[in-house]
Symmetry: C2
Subunit: 423 residues, 2 copies
């Protein structure tokens, strides 16, 4: 229970009760800033042991698994021979890293991960290029985000560059599980759990960071398939001052029942709305946040007649997607010279519905590690099915396809780019 | 992945965008209704196996533990010899219940409880009365709440009365761990976790319901000790349309860092505020919700000169406490005839601060299973320390003490009452 306090800055300034309208504006502003900034990681605490790469212990399996045929791969169902583990205690810091055969975790039933959701994860992939090299895609982004996530729930932070080195060693050991076929990859799941075995509600005195790996196929084996979304506000995924921007287990279980509801009405995913006042107009709008498993992009012709690619800003209510960030950077480099406007800004469903009605809707797509980009055919909003610019016989728009090609080109090493890290 | 859909009704009606003011009022109304109502439990699905009490398997330990001295008991740190377990699968339903020696859970590292927070729990106690009988306190309330919690995250529901029968058998087996001294009890922790071992985000195809037990002492071994709270709004615990009324692990880990922050400033707990518009005045106020581990009651003399005991309503953002409900019922039976007004209603910090400044503050206390009632000395709110009616030499007010006596009298069987269930 001796985990050091981590400072949360800036703290929201405390205001006297304003009028309803002033409050509305204030709320808008609040939801556009980060609630938390996290101070230096524990790994810098000189009293605690940092991760020591030279101490890595590797215990190889004596019963290697059969590799499945590529066509039989299902996301996150089969795993490689080994796992990477790092234990932490509040009194000692990080213990020696270990690669062991993939095995069950044996935990006391009072362990805090089972009761209070002390858990945060990442999703990343290892790709094999045409020369047979194994590559990671922006792993520094995943480690930085995992550090922000774990700090938010009083789990220990760590030196991301060291864990990347360990992940590289782990991937080398599991190389035979990384398919060389385009579209296939090895999905990596870093996960941290609190392992303290008491029921007192407080910061965990011990934790386990582990990485498992699952060979996966292309998200759409038969090529793109556009999905339909149900815009949802009867349930709310995230809110200002909450934890929607952290990749915590806590954000996932509560979304499943609404997802099942949407599925029962024929929609593949929820599009999570956040009802708030538009700072410019003073009107209440249903702002677009994210899909829960993906960030969302919309390409429209705006009222000024300019092509605009937009996605919600990092206001604390959406996940800070690695692919989202990559799309924004590529769009600024490659689409702006073609005359596009690229916006990280709040936008609402009424704006999308108007664009669709007025023939200004170009494309909508989700972004995430699983599918890179995922084209959207339509969004059910109130009683309106908002069409997202695809004709019936088309599964993906041009911009969606270009982003897929650009990013996969970098991921698979066809295009030399600093984002692709060769192991 | 074949878990049947559960209906969520009523769905929030969809309104056209109103003006900011209308919205504010609407938000107030929305936050006063439950977002979800849950349909019939899975246990009624005729295709699935229900819990069969006659199939209970009991495997007794061969290495019984030493009992700690009462004075050495720490909440939730030591456990009894055994645990109660029930496994569920989507294809079969509930398997045979088992009581086994207390033992670690062995789970695949891909198990969904570690990644997506499929977990919900309860807290309840077994008491020993003067005749040596073991008693539970309103266990039906805990089972009903656990069913609501698990249904909210797509875990299987169950027949609460059957699990109560199993808990009774479990308590009988562990009787030697239930201290007979007043203030001591056996804390029971029913917990349900999703056990499906794939990384796909969907309803778990298997689950485990288990109960462990920890002998505990009085929350304040030296008698009442009043605590001080930090009223918190830079972090927000719950939101309308969220899961703040369910006893999910997901609600706990995110509260720890703010709790550590409050502790660093000398406050034992956070008092979670929810900023919203007051439907009557149209002004923005910081409404009082709960403490995160307790519900909150305030006793004031209201502006009409009447003594009023108030607590926040069940609007979806607070936990539906068993002790909270018991206090409300007892207050209506026993305080109303003395001239008190008893209110489940929204109230805000400005109202409490005004009562304190104007000499109308009587008492504030938290309610929960751990301490029954927990007196509050002060609440730090903005730049004001709101004093809660206790003089420096006094740790608990009269009303707080009376509730403690009334409820403990029922829990320990001194007063015959239908809430106390003899095993």
């Amino acid at each position: 229970m001796a985990s050091p306090l981590r400072q949360l800055l800036p703290r929201r300034s405390v205001l006297a009760a304003p009028s309803a309208r002033a409050w509305s504006t204030k709320r808008c502003l609040l939801s556009q800033r980060r609630s938390y900034a996290i101070a230096a990681p524990d790994s810098k605490d000189p009293k605690l042991q940092a991760i020591d790469l030279s101490k890595l212990q590797v215990q190889k399996t004596t019963t290697p698994k059969e590799r499945l045929d590529n066509k039989d791969l299902v996301f996150g169902r089969t795993f490689t021979d080994h796992m990477l583990s790092l234990e932490w205690t509040a009194s000692n810091g990080w213990m020696d890293p270990r690669i062991t055969p993939y095995q069950n975790l044996s935990l006391d039933p009072a362990t805090c991960v089972f009761h209070y959701a002390f858990e945060a994860f990442e999703g990343m992939k290892a790709y094999k290029d045409k020369q047979g090299n194994v590559r990671l895609f922006r792993p520094d982004m995943n480690m930085a985000r995992l550090n922000r996530s774990v700090a938010r729930i009083a789990l220990p932070t760590f030196e991301g560059d060291k864990v990347i080195e360990l992940i590289k060693k782990f991937c080398q050991l599991e190389e035979r599980f990384i398919p060389s076929e385009r579209g296939y990859s090895l999905y990596l799941r870093p996960n941290m759990i609190g392992t303290q075995r008491t029921l007192g509600v407080g910061p965990p005195g011990s934790a386990l960071l582990y990485v498992i790996a699952s060979p996966v196929g292309p998200y759409y084996p038969t090529g793109f398939k556009a999905i339909s979304l149900e815009a949802t506000k009867y349930a709310v995924r995230a809110w200002p001052g909450g934890v929607g921007n952290s990749k915590l287990g806590a954000n996932y279980a509560p979304c499943i029942v609404p997802q099942m509801q949407a599925a029962s009405r024929g929609f593949q995913q929820n599009l999570w709305l956040f009802e708030d006042v538009d700072a410019e107009t003073g009107k209440v709008e249903d702002f677009v946040t994210e899909v829960g498993t993906m960030n969302l992009f919309a390409a429209i012709v705006n009222k000024e007649g300019q092509k605009e690619l937009m996605t919600a800003p990092l206001d604390g209510t959406i996940l800070e997607g690695v692919v989202r960030d990559s799309i924004l950077q590529l769009a600024r480099e490659r689409l702006v010279p073609e005359g596009w406007k690229v916006s990280e800004r709040r936008f609402h469903m009424r704006e999308l519905a108007e664009a669709a009605r007025e023939g200004r809707m170009l494309e909508v797509f989700g972004s995430g590690t699983a599918a890179v980009v995922s084209p959207v055919r339509s969004i059910q909003y109130n009683n309106e099915l908002v069409s997202c610019g695809l004709t019936e016989d088309v599964e993906a728009g041009q911009i969606t396809k270009r982003f897929k090609d650009w990013i996969e080109g970098i991921q698979y090493g066809d295009e030399a780019h600093p984002w692709s890290v060769k192991i």
